[in-house]
Symmetry: C2
Subunit: 482 residues, 2 copies
């Protein structure tokens, strides 16, 4: 585990020193949320919490960190001394990894003294923004190919090491089966897959010799890449011949087939399927890789492509087309002697005005279908019971209301405790459980929310109390001002 | 330094075992190149070599790596034993970091036994693809703002830790002045910058109190964020008042000013400049941050924005709009008893046919202007002299020729030796030198190549010998085939 304590913006450390010197060390609450779904999607998947836990538990300024900060000339000795014993001692709540989330919802909350809460902002955002993005992309690809094998092949195009490692993990959570990334497999326990590249084929005098040699060594996982010279005139016929020879020689091949890596994947897979079937190789797998994502795969499927194993790489691992999730981390409350004082940030851009207060997200499920009816953002101290009618109000258009009858709905608090007074109190699930949970979460979305183009957006309301609080605070700050 | 030996695709290890078992351990040559410039740009910047050197020098399978590979069930004990003593013993050539490069050119060459050359493919691609991409993006932003301060602010939106760290380094090489990323500053020696966020302002009862407190602690670097409540009606007037008070109190402010983080940056900066100037604060800096990149900055400048310090974040650090560089790594030669045998990969997509042979790139400069006339890809054994006329031929359109008179041009080999028999023999330059070299490299591009929209593309030709070799190999493989 590298020490990532300095993985923060310099302004965090300068503000920390400012709080230290001015005695502004009250407990405050920050929350992470985002404003717009990535990929014009109807949702996002929460990911990155496990990474955040590692990071928080390992926060510690080492001697060389202090030395470096001293060299910058902006920090005073008393502050540097404080940093030498710095530990995160606060509380964190978060939605579990794999949870389906929507814009404006608090996804993670940090309650800690102002200096601690400020330091951790940047890394928390970086980890969760990235990992959520990739998990969301992966869930979209899974949606296009519910029954196929999905393999993450993006390492060589990833935005460096951690993007590849945590990206492979996030893709698995989002619904992928495996990765080509060996280190990700080792670190996270994700299944790894891979067979051969063109360079294997080119290392032999002829294509068929390269195929024979490979089957001989890996009879149980012989996916032969067939486009080194000429897919339909050389690659596929040679693969068929090599498979038939192996069968004739009594070699039992558990999993075998071909990989298409260029050309028209619809046409080539249909032709290759016919050729394989005609040779009696009906159980040979056809795998494809080459600039794949949910759009390409669904288009290929529409045209009857005979591919059942897909290896998306670049477009998945870099979240092509939506390469960042704009998660932010905003101050929402500070604790004075009278308890929590809500805080708000106003902006000329109305959608950038924050919702004040220390909050929870309550998910409301339709009892009959198990699908999500709406989410309601509340103050943490509010409580709701499934035995009473529930009224949902729209924040802006107050005439938009929805009344739910007792017994027709189920409630669930989405954020759960993760750290308490600096100690992790969260039972970190195995990666397989996170993936299974995520796939269940996706089942709670109405189909309309999963559409790629113009999806229906989930209803996310503020509680009555929160609407009033926000309105009053805006009025106080802006009404009557020039 | 983390052990990244397993940062590779599983198929590399499976092919390695295949070569090991079939005795195919000849020395081979692989080369890295890319086919299309990122961002529809006229060039790319080479970056990531320093990272590659660290990686190659630290390659070593530890006991737990071997244990993990054993657990996969695909590897034999004799191969695992070989891995325990594995070291990279080959040669590597590369264009230095900061070099301007063009499509199809070999940027890095690995000559090593087949197993070693295969293992390192994936990590080399991942590092150099990513870092080149960000350096290129940064150089474009620098082009729009040649005299301004450029600060990289992307950490929170980066695709995880390494994208942020190596991205900050690549941005510096491409022409940035500083980063907000403290860890990048510590590791790479890049200047770090940062002042305050909205949360600082919100931590005080009033905006002006927050400004006073900040100036008091950081008089030499007081960039006040002015959009927490209302930029022109509250933020800027309060900043002016706080600066005037500080001056009146005899505080000497070395660098001070305001940061605009939302709203219309052209309008707000012009208004703010007027207000600051009217108050006599003509040396106050106006800094902007908010979804910036080369397109946004040049559009703002066209409208007269009064910003002289820019903090691009998300769009720079994720290479928005072109989130990957499609660099590939292809087998181009193998050594038999008779020396190097060139290798080729054919493809239905004509532009995907590789150029065979162990190669060098010779850059041809116009002696009068110092600008690039063309690049010529040659076999390593070819030699050219500036004293003779030079004829450049187009590979496809053989009627396109250019003849250069002796004395009118200068030649330079772009790839330099980096590893020899496993030892790094390259004097790794300081990051400041790499940046300076890169800025000089950019000066060798004609303005037409630097245009954002529809740039002129540099002339990259194959040598006469290479054109013949490639043509003959294609004919041999494909002509007369069905």
């Amino acid at each position: 585990m590298r020490n990532l304590t300095l993985l923060t913006d310099l302004y965090q450390l300068k503000m920390m020193q400012g709080y230290f010197l001015t005695g502004k060390t009250e407990v405050v609450v920050f929350e992470r949320f985002y404003r717009v779904n990535p990929f014009d999607s109807g949702y996002s998947i929460v990911a990155g919490l496990d990474h955040v836990i590692d990071y928080i538990e390992n926060l510690s300024f080492e001697a060389d960190d202090i030395e470096y900060l001293r060299s910058l000339g902006s920090f005073r000795e008393e502050f540097l001394t404080y940093l030498t014993t710095f530990k995160f001692c606060g509380d964190i709540w978060s939605m579990p990894e794999g949870t389906v989330a929507f814009p404006k919802e608090p996804l993670l909350c940090v309650k800690a003294n102002r200096m601690e809460a400020q330091l951790v902002e940047t890394a928390i955002l970086a980890f969760m923004n990235h990992e959520s993005l990739i998990a969301t992309k992966a869930s979209r690809i899974r949606y296009t190919a519910p029954d196929d094998l999905l393999m993450e092949f993006g390492l060589r195009r990833a935005q460096n090491t951690d993007a590849a490692l945590y990206g492979a993990r996030a893709a698995f959570i989002g619904g992928f089966d495996a990765t080509s990334n060996v280190l990700a497999g080792k670190i996270f326990g994700i299944p790894v897959v891979g067979t051969m590249a063109h360079s294997w084929v080119m290392s032999f005098p002829t294509e068929i010799e390269s195929f024979r040699a490979f089957i001989n060594i890996y009879p149980n996982d012989a996916l032969l890449v067939v486009d080194t010279y000429d897919t339909l005139n050389s690659g596929v016929p040679n693969a068929i011949q090599a498979f038939l020879e192996a069968k004739a020689a009594g070699i039992v091949m558990e999993k075998y087939g071909i990989r298409l890596d260029s050309g028209d994947l619809a046409y080539l897979s249909i032709k290759a399927r016919q050729m394989l079937d005609a040779a009696g190789l009906t159980d040979a797998v056809i795998c494809a890789s080459s600039e794949l994502d949910e759009t390409v795969i669904s288009s290929l499927k529409m045209q009857g492509a005979k591919v059942t194993a897909w290896g998306p790489g670049t477009k998945l691992i870099t979240a092509d087309g939506s390469s960042s999730l704009g998660g932010v981390y905003k101050l929402v409350a500070e604790y004075g002697q009278a308890g929590a004082i809500p805080k708000i940030k106003i902006s000329e851009n109305a959608e950038k005005v924050t919702t004040p207060g220390f909050k929870q997200v309550i998910r409301i499920y339709d009892k009959a279908t198990g699908k999500i009816t709406a989410d309601m953002i509340t103050l943490v101290e509010e409580s709701y019971s499934e035995d009473k009618p529930l009224i949902l109000r729209d924040e802006i258009h107050s005439w938009k209301r929805m009344k739910l009858a007792p017994g027709s709905y189920r409630l669930r608090n989405l954020m759960v405790p993760v750290f308490s007074q600096g100690k992790c109190i969260y039972a970190r699930p195995e990666i397989q459980s996170i993936k299974a949970y995520c796939q269940k979460e996706l089942m709670t979305l109405w189909e309309a929310y999963r559409r790629f183009i113009n999806p229906q957006l989930a209803k996310v309301d503020l509680s009555e109390r929160l609407i009033e609080l926000k309105k009053n605070m805006i009025n106080e700050l802006r009404v009557g001002k020039p």
